[in-house]
């Protein structure tokens, strides 16, 4: 008998891990407020937040190193909170790599298979494969102390993937590397994840790293999930002032809801009057913050604003050369003390604009996020 596939069921099947109301307290201190989070099969999920935001607590609870004080962690729909660490199909890359200093690179990588009592021939074959994947075939007999930071990192990765875990947990693995190595390891990680098609949960406090590497990002602050979304969603449509500030550079302008028209909100700010659709939660008189990226603004030439655009006049207060682009600080006309940062191509302004010049800046209302508070 054939059945019609249930799309919702299919979606549920694609979930590897589901956290339902998972929280953590140490006495009276709540380090993680109850979190609901689904992790999809094969995705590269980054948990991003400053120190003390609770991101490491989440990864340690998934790995089994820390027991949640509330909620359930489901693996393929089954609660694993009581499952011991060694019985969970996850492997971790630790911040300090945690390589065993008395074992060679090959033995470090083989460890997971060895303790599971796998045949020697299988171990040798898989170690050789893993070494090839991380490009360390010639370092098999070396010891961790003989390796560079990047090489140790790759040994830790090989050790974590050799047992073919359902999920690889990466606890700030790039934190100890210098900037150049971080960039190359970042690309390597993304490439590796695509090749082995395994779910990666990656912890970092670096926004650039998160943007460049992730399929989805979970932004955390003070033990709370602030926003979950794709890098583009989070970058261009932050849902809180914290996300807008933490995630790249933003213009934040104070505003207030002056009227409601259906689900549309009419908002007054230094940018003028703005009508935002789909803000049913707001009331007239509510104070809001408008957030927009510097590149969401456009310098208006002689042709004026395009259809659907709003515009505002101002004066150039500062110009910062950033290479291909430059950033202007524009004082808004009629709003003393209010400024916006505008990003434009350097060749567009070079020799044409100087501090003190008047200009008009245009934007699309869809690029402005309305945030509570």
């Amino acid at each position: 008998m054939s059945t019609v596939p249930d799309p919702q069921q299919n979606q549920a099947r694609a979930r590897v891990i589901e956290m339902v109301g998972v929280g953590k307290r140490y006495g009276n201190v709540e380090v993680l407020k109850p979190v609901d989070l689904s992790i999809e099969d094969g995705e590269f999920l980054t948990i991003l937040g400053p120190s003390g935001s609770g991101k490491t607590t989440i990864i340690r609870m998934i790995g089994g190193f820390t027991r949640p004080t509330s909620g359930r962690i489901l693996l393929d729909g089954r609660d694993i909170v009581d499952q011991p660490i060694f019985d969970r199909p996850f492997n971790t890359v630790f911040q300090d790599y945690a390589l065993f200093p008395h074992m060679s690179v090959a033995k470090n990588i083989a460890y997971g298979l060895m303790v599971r009592g796998r045949p020697k021939a299988e171990i040798s074959r898989k170690v050789a494969e893993a070494l090839a994947v991380v490009d360390l075939s010639d370092k098999a007999a070396r010891y961790p102390a003989d390796l560079s930071g990047g090489q140790r990192q790759r040994v830790a990765l090989a050790r974590a993937i050799i047992c073919e875990p359902r999920v690889v947990l990466l606890d700030e693995p790039l934190a100890a590397l210098d900037a150049e190595l971080r960039r190359s390891m970042r690309d390597f990680l993304k490439d590796l994840q695509r090749r082995i098609r395994t779910t990666f949960i990656f912890i970092t406090h670096d926004q650039d790293e998160a943007i460049s590497i992730s399929d989805r990002i979970v932004v955390m602050d003070h033990g709370r999930v602030e926003q979950v979304g794709t890098p583009e969603e989070i970058y261009y449509h932050p849902k809180s002032v914290f996300v807008a500030k933490f995630f790249g550079e933003s213009n934040l302008l104070a505003g207030g809801v002056t009227a409601l028209a259906g689900t549309d909100a009419v908002i007054e700010s230094a940018l003028g009057t703005l009508t935002k659709p789909g803000h049913a939660g707001l009331n007239a008189g509510t104070a809001v913050t408008l957030a927009a990226r510097p590149e969401s603004f456009r310098l208006v030439a002689g042709d004026g604003p395009r259809a659907g655009e709003c515009d505002v006049s101002g004066t150039v207060e500062a110009i910062t050369f950033l290479g291909a682009t430059s950033q202007l600080v524009v004082g808004i006309a009629g709003a003393p003390g209010e400024t916006i940062k505008v990003r434009a191509a350097t060749k567009e302004i070079s020799g044409k604009l100087a501090v003190g010049d008047s200009l008009t800046v245009a934007w699309t209302p869809a690029d402005i996020s309305v945030l509570a508070g």
Partner: protein
């Protein structure tokens, strides 16, 4: 260099020399005298021989005492090692409550005057109806040496990154496998070093042993008994043998301690 500086340096050298003479002079004197005959408290410098050592080997009481000392040393060190390593790992892995109290209890017999430890153990054994003998001496030595083994093993454990233990469990190892494959290999040098130093302590332990020993004497007790009767070249030879063995053990212990410090523990 001024004259004053030269004088100061000479004085410092002289003080250091005197200190060394005070520390090692008597021992060297005893070793030297062990090769010569002593007649009416006078040394016959023309009588160089190994007779005293030959006499020592032929003296069944001394050989028996040496055997007892070795039995006590090996047994006490083995038992103390097992207890101390197990306890240290148990205390370290999950930072147990009451760890400081347990450590205090372990260190107390080591810090207390030996006479207190000896008398306490003697009373305890008598109340328990246990006859004095090598077994009671072994227990007494375990009580004393367990502190040094525990501390050295714990120091090594504390320098071992907790993430290594977590990594082992994360890779599918049980706690026993983690102990066997990750902890023990990295503790080996600490175990050897502490065992050697503990054996040295046990080898020449006298005061606690004095209260607990029965009819079967250990080497230091035999030596003490011999000294009471009078000084003979055999005594000098025995002291020389004990000195040599203790120095060898301490040297090996110190060398492995140096290695212990050098081993990199970070991945």
């Amino acid at each position: 260099m001024t004259r004053f500086e030269r004088l100061t340096l000479t004085l410092l050298w002289a003080v250091a020399g005197l200190a060394f003479v005070a520390m090692y002079g008597p021992a060297l004197l005893v070793v030297t005298l062990s090769f010569f005959r002593i007649d009416r408290q006078r040394v016959d410098w023309s009588s160089f021989s190994f007779d005293a050592y030959a006499g020592l080997a032929g003296n069944h009481d001394i050989v028996a005492a040496l055997t007892n000392t070795l039995i006590v040393g090996f047994s006490a060190v083995t038992c103390a090692l097992l207890i101390a390593v197990g306890l240290a790992f148990y205390m370290h892995v999950e930072s147990r409550r009451g760890q400081r109290f347990v450590e205090f209890m372990i260190f107390l017999p080591f810090i207390l005057p030996a006479i207190i430890t000896g008398v306490s153990l003697l009373i305890a054994f008598r109340e328990a109806g246990i006859e004095r003998g090598l077994l009671t001496v072994i227990v007494g030595h375990i009580v004393i040496i367990i502190a040094i083994i525990y501390r050295m093993v714990m120091t090594r454990l504390e320098s071992l990154e907790r993430s290594q233990l977590e990594a082992s469990l994360d890779l599918g190892a049980t706690k026993m496998q983690t102990f066997r494959y990750v902890v023990v290999p990295q503790l080996a040098s600490a175990m050897v070093t502490s065992a050697l130093l503990a054996f040295t302590l046990s080898f020449d332990e006298t005061l606690v042993t004095f209260f607990l020993v029965g009819g079967e004497m250990t080497l230091p007790i035999r030596l003490w008994a011999m000294v009471r009767v009078g000084f003979t070249p055999e005594i000098n030879a025995l002291v020389a043998v004990v000195l040599l063995m203790t120095t060898c053990l301490a040297t090996v212990g110190a060398l492995s301690l140096k290695r212990l410090v050098r081993i990199p523990v970070h991945g």
